[in-house]
Amino acid sequence: MTSKVTIALQDNMLELVQTLGEPATVVPAAVRRYVVDRSLQRLEAAEERERTYAQRYEMDYATFNRRVTLDEAYLDRLNHEHPLWESDAIEWAQWAEEVELWHKRLTQALQTSSPSLVPA
């Protein structure tokens, strides 16, 4: 399925686009490339931040959340050793969600067929 949008381009940019092919082909290819690049950047940034907390607490967020919500002894120890752990956990939860989200978006973008830039 495709949708149509109108995009304003400066004249000189339109001329440059035209040197690369039909704008109707070049622009969707550029958008796809942008979405892939940005999704990858966001995914890598979220993974790095998530890793920092995973190393600090020596487990992944899902395990951490299970333990703070179900394991009384662990929660007591955590409150003693890291009394501000919630400040880490609220951000860690965000990064864990973002890793999942951007992985899904990147996969979706990569699976979207790229318009061929090779002249017919």
Binding site: R42, N65, R66, V68, T69, L70, D71, E72, L75, N79, P83, L84, E86, S87, A89, I90, E91, A93, Q94, E97, E98
Partner: protein
Amino acid sequence: MAQTLDAGFADIIALARARLTQVRVEEDSEADRAILAIEGRFGEYRVVLKEVINPQRRRYAYYVLQGERLILGFDNHADRTALRLKYGDAFTSHIFDLVPHRHGPDKTPTILTEPWDAVRFLEDLDVLLAPE
């Protein structure tokens, strides 16, 4: 460049600068989420705030410390104590819920609260720290 999520952080930062000293601010905003971390001093106390906002959820953690000792905290991350207070024996079905609560000195006791926000926390510091 995509517009960033408007999480109202400008008001919180301005209030923090008015109420606290030695203020340090870290902000990380994108179109779909915003994170704000603030640390500062309120007289003899150290104040630590974090807000994590996305279109689905607002998570927060606010603390007051005296030296290394936690005096007071508000947050809405689920923990076993808060979940049991809210849901009783059914708490295990709610481990991903946001549960607003307050911690007293050294994390005891835990009391359920309505959702708090950073502006209210900063404005009420005098009251929160007043001797009972």
